[in-house]
Symmetry: C2
Subunit: 658 residues, 2 copies
């Protein structure tokens, strides 16, 4: 079996039009997006959700287009809420036509197109409020960030519908920026405070074939971090002010670390600053490493990946240890109850992981992609599709969320909407494009990264192949990859990921057990596959204890539970309060059983211990010399991603080990 | 034995001139204050400490007195640094004459007197910067707070030296305020944002006999919390601005809870807001309850004491669970690594506790007074007397103090000085007036609250008595109270506190073991005592494990160690890193031994357990399924109050119990 060449050849995701998700677990999310989230978010964008924070997003476009009078409202990047919604609609329409939805979206496209200026510029904040201050505060004002989301929406909507109107708007925006920014003496040698456009420009290049867009992405990536710092120069030029503190002359310039602009990206080795900006940038770096065969950039990607994932990632696949700047802190600093772990940041990790998988199919990337997707991203959305988490803590004490200012960012219940509503539409666009993360493929190999059931048409070794993936995950461990149809003949390779959480995975080819070559977390099966051939996989779904590195002080003496891709948590509604009084004995047997709660889940149960004050609990003294009394108690854990969907209460991922 | 009448009669502290501290442990602190801290802080006030944050304090007075030109610098309450220093000097001179120190202080008094205005007003910030805005922003500007510290200094300096110059200055300030504030139609019905003057006015009343000062204190206390809120009225009157954000019109008025002005103090039941303001106010409330025999106010004091001590106090006798507003949070919210636990707040607790002891001698007050004094207040000062903690955490990871913004307030080493230098001189004034906390006495009973060796002259039952207290505390458990001299005859009572940490205390009277009546934590001995009579006490110094209430989630599964009055902690220099990897087995024997480190201490040692990642530690994965390896290790704890006096490193009070 020769897979060396296959491995070195970059792979690409399959077109969403060619993959039909048919998965018991994910179908419910896709349906939720199509039937609930997209309509609901449209209402939110139009400020029609009662008791929710208003978006002002559509209203801003109407004002910018002179269809309505009034002032701009909301965040300076409010436009992106519509762009992310449009992007999600694009993916949705690629999967499944929906005339009503497309009509709404077309109207939105008309609206935003009418807000575009003659020179291609499109940003409602600057158009309404400060037309003369365009491109004077990239540090704070997200102008390129907003343009990036427009471009992503345009590419998705073009792929989903074949319509070019939005793509044309996006190209004019990109052309405008390409004119204003670059190495020329009449251009600005700068870049945005919030990375996003870099990865979007790569998508625009892929969609249009126009190399200027790829080159602009390269310019923005490589300009970043050069000294003297662009953010300092423009800060001086505008009189040392910040958008966030109008009228105040600041004593200190913006901190470049926050924007990952403290050193050239090729020299960066540690994930620092605002987590979402970081992973969006890493994604673009991986894109450029892939397109330009840029090994130096690839090395930087590998370093940053490793630092992020091996030193600064929560067990649920989330990042950002502090809400101060929604940022990374430092290696092994992973506090459970003050973390940020923004839903958007995990979405960005998934973007980054998929690019790295395209370059080098290694299980470590897919493991993290799956961890973030199954645990954090879906945790960001309530089971009703109408409530969202922005922050995804490992531990919640509702009284502290309201009573301790250092924990005000830790919401104990999902919110209807957010003034800064980046996460809800971001999760929507990811869920409805999940098909882009299941596989990547090159000319003769299909890599299966995620076991999400689907039927997919693609070409392998010049043959038209229809793949049928069936999967019991995340609940049960049986999956099969079947050649539903294949014309012609010739050898190609099916590479199946062996998840790190399944130490005893069994493979059968056409019923016969096989010991495939496993390299970097993938099992490789090469053959002249014919219609009806199938590979069956049986994963090890034993509930497992997870321990953290001893440098993670917050988890010393604690254990987390995982079953399949799901990390579990303990909720007050199942286990009483305080959860901190519970401990899991080292030798307690973990059992899992199916229950029809929360839409149907496997719970994990164990005989545990509860430590209580002797005597009447509430009257016990604050400090005492008598040790706590231990009583046996049945512990019950549910998948973290579903927490907060029942009664309001405490939640804890890491439980004390007894 | 009839002590009922004795108990109901309020007691008072002894005059500092009549108590000579001669205590192995405390003498070193008193010497440190006299020989190091007072001279060093004088240099700091004069901006002559290299590499320390400048104080500007003396310079401000010189500018206000027109002896120098320039602008005001520092915090709006910067004057109080000099006042607290003068107060400490007053106590020091009462104990021990010192011509050089007195000369410096007299010069400082001359200086500040020359900055006083014709109408009695004295505040360098307003005199230099904003003379026309006096008394327009009591919420933020600490005008009465500063005046209060001046008054306290004046009373102490008068008692210490007999000189009246500073007392006259203070009376003129108090008279000025008494004219401006009160129930009259030409007066302001207001009060200060930072309580302090209330307790100071009681001292001024006690020193001068002038009832107007007591009445003014009553007015300020009872006006507080009435609706409409004074802070809201003056905020409206000055155009909704704050001192802290000049030029910005605020959308929200000041939060009255922060200043304990959310409801009338008599109705308050929970400790809320800024912790130092709270305890200064509670102290004045207890003072007024005492002087006015005000049972309603006393009930409020008892409620607030109980909430603070039984629900919101750290094991080291510190308060303030969050640095946001240096404030209380809510019941049982006692995080170890993000707390504030300001040194000044523990000083204020000691003030409050002493007043409550005067009203009702109960061991619970003295226990807390001792806990705060021996653990937090002295922790605030380095053994060299030149470095200070403002914040006193239960757990320190130096990398997090610098790398996690939510922990920036947790300093891993004592600082030379602070821009807001409230704590260093506050600790100095308390340490040098420790004699005011050892005893309280009424006509026929001497209450011994703290076992700090001394000789004291006082009158009991009309007899002149000299008491000699010898004490091995905090290190060894032998103490004796001897009647060094007593004229005449007649019965009086010696009431000795039985610390809650000593469950097996043995008493001997003139060598014979006795079982005294013990009530509310005091052992009562009544007799016609003669010269040479003595009561020997033997405390139980067994090291003890302390457990927290199960609602204190941060300490679930953890234990702290205490021996005598000292709470212990684990330092990296003794135990390696990470400290979180250490655990103390439930049944491990605790041994204590004298060592000549840190000036001589008893360390506590035990056979513990270290949990480590299997394999090479630094290369271990972030998450793994193999349980940590446990290795035996010798644990070593030192008194918390001395932490941070050796190598820089981690510190932890609460250790995991295994």
């Amino acid at each position: 079996m020769n897979t060396t060449n296959n491995r070195s050849a970059a792979s690409r995701p399959v077109d969403l039009k060619n993959i039909k998700i048919s998965d018991r677990y994910w179908q419910s999310y896709v349906d939720l997006v199509n039937n609930t989230i997209l309509p609901y978010q449209w209402e939110a964008l139009n400020d029609r959700v009662p008791d929710a924070e208003p978006s002002y997003c559509i209203r801003n476009f109407r004002i910018a287009a002179r269809l309505e009078t009034g002032d701009f409202s909301g965040f300076v990047f409010q436009d992106t809420d519509l762009y992310k919604w449009l992007e999600a609609v694009g993916y949705s329409l690629a999967n499944k036509p929906n005339g009503d939805l497309e009509k709404l979206a077309d109207e939105a496209v008309e609206l935003l197109a009418s807000a575009q200026l003659e020179d291609g510029y499109l940003n409602t904040y600057f158009t309404i409020r400060n037309p003369q201050q365009r491109w004077t505060n990239l540090t704070d004002c997200h102008e390129m960030y907003s343009a990036g989301h427009l471009i992503e929406a345009a590419v998705a909507y073009y792929h989903g519908t074949g319509k070019t109107k939005l793509l044309d708007v996006a190209r004019r925006v990109a052309d405008h920026i390409d004119l204003r920014f670059g190495p020329g003496t009449d251009q600005i040698q700068g870049y945005d405070g919030h990375q996003e456009i870099e990865l979007a420009l790569v998508k625009l290049y892929e969609a249009t074939g126009e190399p200027r867009y790829l080159n602009l992405a390269c310019f923005l990536i490589d300009e970043r971090g050069k000294e003297p710092y662009f953010f300092h120069q423009e800060w001086e030029a505008r009189g040392r002010t910040s958008y966030w503190n109008p009228g105040v002359v600041q004593s200190k310039p913006p901190a470049p670390e926050y924007h990952q602009a403290h050193k050239p990206v090729r020299e960066q080795a540690e994930a620092v600053g605002h987590a979402v900006r970081a992973v969006y940038m890493y994604t673009a770096m991986a894109d450029l490493a892939l397109h330009n065969n840029d090994t130096e950039l690839l090395e930087a990607c590998r370093r940053l990946w490793s630092n992020m994932v091996d030193k600064q990632m929560y067990v649920t696949g989330s990042i950002g240890s502090t809400h101060h700047g929604e940022a990374f802190t430092f290696d092994y600093d992973l506090p459970n109850d003050t973390n940020y772990s923004e839903t958007c940041a995990s979405i960005g990790m998934i973007f980054f992981a998929r690019r790295m998988l395209q370059i080098e199919p290694k299980g470590e990337y897919a493991d993290v992609m799956e961890r973030s997707l199954y645990n954090t991203v879906t945790a960001g959305i309530g089971l009703d599709g109408k409530h969202y988490f922005y922050v995804n803590p490992m531990e919640v004490w509702p009284a502290a969320s309201s009573g301790n200012p250092g924990k005000h960012h830790i919401k104990a219940t999902r919110q209807k909407w957010y003034g800064c509503a980046c996460c809800p539409p971001n999760a929507a666009r990811l869920l409805v494009s999940a098909g882009q993360y299941v596989y990547t493929t090159n000319s003769d190999t299909l890599y299966t990264h995620l076991y999400i059931g689907n039927e997919t048409d693609l070409e392998l070794s010049g043959r038209n192949v229809r793949i049928r993936l069936e999967s019991g995950l995340p609940w049960n461990g049986n999956a099969s990859l079947e050649i539903a149809n294949a014309d012609g003949s010739g050898s190609f390779t099916l590479a199946l990921r062996v998840p790190s959480w399944s130490p005893a995975t069994v493979f059968r080819v056409n019923g016969a057990q096989r010991e495939p070559i496993i390299r970097d977390g993938y099992a490789y099966f090469t053959g002249d596959w014919r219609s009806g051939d199938r590979i069956d996989v049986q994963f090890d779904m034993t509930p497992r204890r997870i321990y953290a590195h001893p440098q993670v002080r917050a988890n010393a003496g604690r254990v987390a539970l995982q079953r399949g891709p799901f990390v579990y948590c303990f909720e007050e509604t199942d286990n009483g309060s305080p959860l901190a009084s519970l401990a899991l004995p080292e030798n307690a047997e973990l059992t899992s059983a199916w229950e029809e709660t929360l839409g149907g889940i496997f719970v994990i149960e164990a005989e545990g211990v509860r430590t209580e004050a002797p005597g009447e609990e509430s009257a016990a003294p604050l400090y005492r010399t008598s040790p706590p009394v231990r009583t046996p108690t049945r512990l019950r854990a549910v998948p973290y991603t579903m927490w907060g969907n029942r009664e309001h209460g405490e939640m804890q991922v890491w439980i004390r080990e007894d």
